[in-house]
């Protein structure tokens, strides 16, 4: 008995050595899969990943390894970190406003997929085609019609004290959706955007680190208002036959966002990566739109009827990519100062 215990303990202690030698071997070996970095919610249980990836593998016979790489903003910084030993072949989830930074980084390979012919020109946000759009959405506040009788009509309206501790927001330092609202306030108020943030504080229940947790808290009933997309109610109509959760559009306009994908310049699997982009812009469009509850870019996509029941934004706002590139960090820093007081 004692001897066995000793042997076991010894074996356990020696395992790290085995791992170490394994590590050295692995560093030499070359993986056989197409490595795709995507933001967390793409990979998650309810995201498009579990639908799109098996379909692509079946159609092309190419194995894909989908790597969940954190929230939106993390993707580009992760790629920049790995600049010297890049691992990804394809990246999914770079938003249009990062276009300038992404192009400047020279990390990506230009590729004008033939499928871009079916994408309306207003979505061609990168003239160099390093980044190609794969879906787009419009940010909007969503509300729970069971608990909220009174509906806000503008950003200013949200400051009303009657919505005390009723709004769930998302951290712009971490999440694209959160950043969407920050830039939305910049688009509406210009340099005065911080006073909106100063005044919204009493009405905020919490600021979460990502869209998923914010929306989850909202459907769990923790608060009646949440920052999301105009398209979000589709999910509840489709799967729950419920129109309890609704989006509201503001006359002053709603911020919009285009999400893009790109091929990493260092890829050894260029042909496979291009096939993947083609697939993303064609056969995967419906699954992505439904699972992400955003709009597809390919105008031939046949969508479920539920999409027809959505409110249409009266005005779609965007910010100039160069302005965003130059100012974004300042906006975020000032936001932190205001919100941490």
């Amino acid at each position: 008995m004692k001897r066995y215990t000793c042997t076991l303990v010894l074996a356990l202690i020696l395992t790290p050595l085995a791992l170490f030698s394994g590590a050295i071997k692995e560093q030499i070996a070359e993986p056989d899969e197409l490595i795709v970095y995507a933001y967390d919610s793409f990979v998650s249980e309810w995201g498009p990943g579990p639908l799109v990836i098996p379909a692509f593998e079946q159609q092309t016979g190419i194995k894909v390894r989908l790597v969940s790489s954190g929230h939106g903003g993390e993707l580009l910084s992760k790629l920049l970190l790995e600049r010297n030993h890049p691992k990804a072949d394809v990246v999914i989830g770079l938003e249009s406003e990062l276009a300038q930074k992404a192009i400047d980084s020279k990390l990506f390979l230009p590729y004008r997929s033939p499928m871009m012919d079916y994408v309306p020109t207003f979505l061609h946000f990168d003239p160099t085609y390093c980044l190609v759009p794969f879906n787009y959405g419009v940010y909007a506040f969503n509300y729970d019609s069971h608990t909220l009788k009174d509906i806000p009509s503008s950003l200013d309206d949200l400051l009303d004290p009657k919505w005390r501790k009723s709004i769930i927001l998302i951290d712009p330092r971490i999440s694209n959706v959160g950043l969407g609202l920050l830039e939305w306030t910049v688009a509406i108020y210009g340099d005065d955007y911080l006073s909106w943030w100063e005044n919204i504080k009493p009405n905020v229940l919490t600021i979460t680190d990502g869209w998923s947790s914010a929306y989850g808290l909202f459907t769990e009933g923790e608060a009646p208002l949440v920052l999301s997309y105009t398209t979000s109610p589709v999910y509840h109509i489709l799967y729950e036959e419920s129109d309890r959760y609704k989006a509201v559009v503001f006359d002053e306009g709603n911020m919009s966002v285009i999400e893009g994908a790109a091929i990493v310049a260092s890829t050894q699997k260029r042909a496979e990566a291009q096939l993947f982009i083609d697939f993303l812009l064609s056969d995967a469009q419906k699954d992505i739109a439904v699972a992400n509850v955003m709009y597809p870019v390919n105008s031939n996509t046949v969508l479920p009827d539920a999409f027809d029941q959505l409110v249409q934004p009266t005005k779609e706002l965007t910010l100039d990519s160069e302005l965003v590139h130059a100012q974004r960090q300042t906006w975020i820093d000032r936001w932190v100062e205001v919100m941490s007081k």
Binding site: L12, P16, F20, S44, L205, V336
Partner: protein, 568 residues
């Protein structure tokens, strides 16, 4: 002459025994720390020496974070003490049924992973949580009466939940060993009870109060998961959360490392303070050892019985409510996202791979369970062996009074697990990030984090062990090695097992360093739980949480059983 030779060989043996552990632990601890420090000072090529600190100190936000870290730790400590004090009084002065169970709860905070506490809190205390739903149904209210989550209050409450048992345990033990004769004398001499308490009892309890406070303050200061999930937004971020955010989310390693150094300086001071208080306490304890072994318990009155019942019920509800909520929730599943719920075994089936619904949860959850067990088994074994070797040396140190020796052993505790994680992350960027290498780094980080707890469990037992057995063995002709293996080890059996159980539990529940280190290919149970909470799959997180609770209870049972066996 012969005796002197024996003493020499004895010293040599223990020095040699401790040496490899000392060297290894130093390496494991110092190497990642060096990476962090060099990064903090020299940073990128574009920065000059120390620029990161100047940038940091110029930002008002840095000061806000430091101030908040200290403030929340201070308030948490006070609240924990306030909750613990009446309990300590009752535990020390009355004998009642369920006392053993109350004491058992005192061990909970050490073995419960903080992500579990967070999860339990959201489910139990949330606006639509069990408690609020219950109260709303009872009193037909439209709005949840207890709005405690997502604010400063939530953080304090979670920290109190986590830490009041530490205060309860330390203070009640001290109180129990206090001689009632002083208080009796004071009463006889005409002082009233309040005066007797204030002038006799309280000063005598002070060392344990200070020792508990400093420990709780340290834990709350370097708290991570609770602030990450319950805090929300820049207003409620502490240094650890900010390090994580900068390192992992913004990729800004330089300021993250600089912040890590600030954190180290503060925690080091706290550990030093704690050791000083602990020492003061142990001297006092020794001086009173012969006067009083076990205090006479007070007689029950109706009031005291009611108070005891009330305290036990409230504290049990406070501690077991959130845990029960996790277990209950794990047996329900929603039909759709945010839809109606029903009782089911769905999550357990998914966990075991029996129910393939093609979700991402199943593929990662099962492997996370396997990884967690393997990592915990290996790192706990290594930590136990290293901890034992080091304890053997420390217990025999002639200058047991030197604070430096003990501080050194506690050093990894002075560095928060987020900082350890950051250090190993930086190491990983140099040695490569292949699968095996990452697994190795996670393992080593766990060893570093767990080993101080092993030492804490073995060393006091080792020190208090009577040396006569060993001397008898030596006199009877056995070698030092034989006496160590055949006499000392069997005597230390129960504390070795307890140390292993602690290390295992800490590794199983470790999220902070692992979250920074892990890429998508190596995930442990707490990391998956964090991801599941983030994507609002609470039931799935609860199934894993229930598993963790089960493991914690089993480990706790193991360590208790080993203690009991020793006294038989």
């Amino acid at each position: 002459m012969k005796k002197l030779g024996a003493l020499h060989s004895q010293q040599r043996f223990y020095r040699l025994l401790g040496l490899p552990a000392l060297v290894l632990l130093t390496l494991l601890f110092v190497v990642p720390l060096t990476f962090t420090l060099s990064r903090a000072f020299s940073g990128d090529e574009s920065l000059y020496f120390g620029e990161a600190f100047i940038t940091l100190f110029r930002q008002p936000y840095t000061w806000t974070i430091i101030r908040f870290s200290l403030l929340q730790a201070f308030v948490s400590t006070i609240v924990s003490l306030l909750i613990a004090f009446p309990g300590a009084y009752l535990l020390a002065n009355y004998r009642f049924r369920g006392k053993g169970f109350v004491k058992a709860i005192c061990t909970l905070p050490f073995v419960l992973p903080s992500i579990l506490v967070v999860l339990g809190f959201v489910i139990f205390y949330g606006n639509s949580g069990i408690l609020n739903t219950l109260l709303m149904d009872l009193f037909t209210l439209d709005t949840p009466p207890l709005q405690i989550l997502y604010s400063f209050k939530a953080i304090i409450l979670a920290h109190a939940f986590y830490n009041f048992p530490i205060a309860l345990s330390l203070i009640s033990t001290r109180w129990e060993n206090l001689s009632p004769s002083y208080e009796g004398a004071a009463l006889t001499l005409g002082s009233n009870r309040w005066e007797a308490f204030r002038r006799i009892t309280l000063p005598n309890l002070m060392s344990s109060v200070l020792s508990a406070s400093s420990l709780i303050f340290l834990f709350c200061f370097s708290s991570f998961a609770i602030l990450l999930v319950l805090g929300g937004g820049p207003q409620f971020s502490n240094i650890e959360v900010e390090i994580y955010r900068r390192a992992k989310l913004s990729g800004d390693m330089t300021t993250a490392s600089a912040l890590a150094l600030i954190s180290i300086v503060i925690t080091l001071a706290l550990v030093l303070l704690h050791l000083l208080f602990q020492r003061r306490g142990s001297y006092e304890q020794e001086s009173q050892l012969f006067e009083q072994v076990n205090s006479s318990y007070k007689k029950h009155s109706l009031v005291s019985s009611l108070l005891i019942a009330l305290y036990v019920i409230i504290s049990f509800g406070f501690v077991l409510g959130p845990l029960g909520a996790i277990i209950w929730r794990s047996f329900t599943s929603s039909i759709t996202r945010g839809g109606a719920t029903q009782l089911s075994l769905k999550w357990y089936k998914e966990l075991l791979g029996l129910n393939s619904s093609g979700t991402a949860f199943i593929s990662t959850a099962l492997s996370s369970v396997i990884y967690s067990f393997i990592i915990a088994l290996i790192s706990a074994s290594i930590a136990t062996v290293l901890g034992l070797m080091l304890s053997a040396r420390l217990a025999r140190k002639s200058d047991t009074d030197s604070l430096a020796v003990e501080l050194y052993a506690m050093l990894p505790m002075a560095v928060s697990s987020v900082v350890v994680g950051l250090g190993y992350y930086l190491v990983g960027r140099v040695v490569g990030t292949t699968f095996s290498m990452r697994l190795l780094l996670v393992l080593l980080a766990h060893v570093v984090i767990a080993s101080p707890f092993v030492i804490r469990s073995i060393l006091p037992d080792y020190r208090s062990m009577s040396k006569t057995y060993m001397q008898a063995a030596l006199t009877l002709g056995s070698t030092v090695r034989q006496s160590f293996l055949l006499v000392e080890l069997p005597l230390l059996r129960s504390s070795i097992i307890t140390g292993f159980a602690f290390a295992f539990a800490i590794s199983m529940g470790e999220m902070n360093a692992t979250l920074i280190l892990s890429e998508s290919n190596i995930v442990t149970i707490p990391v998956i739980m964090y991801r599941l909470i983030g994507s609002y799959n609470y039931s799935g997180a609860c199934a894993l949480g229930t598993l963790l609770i089960g493991v914690s209870v089993a480990l706790f049972g193991l360590s208790e059983a080993s203690k009991r066996r020793r006294y038989e």
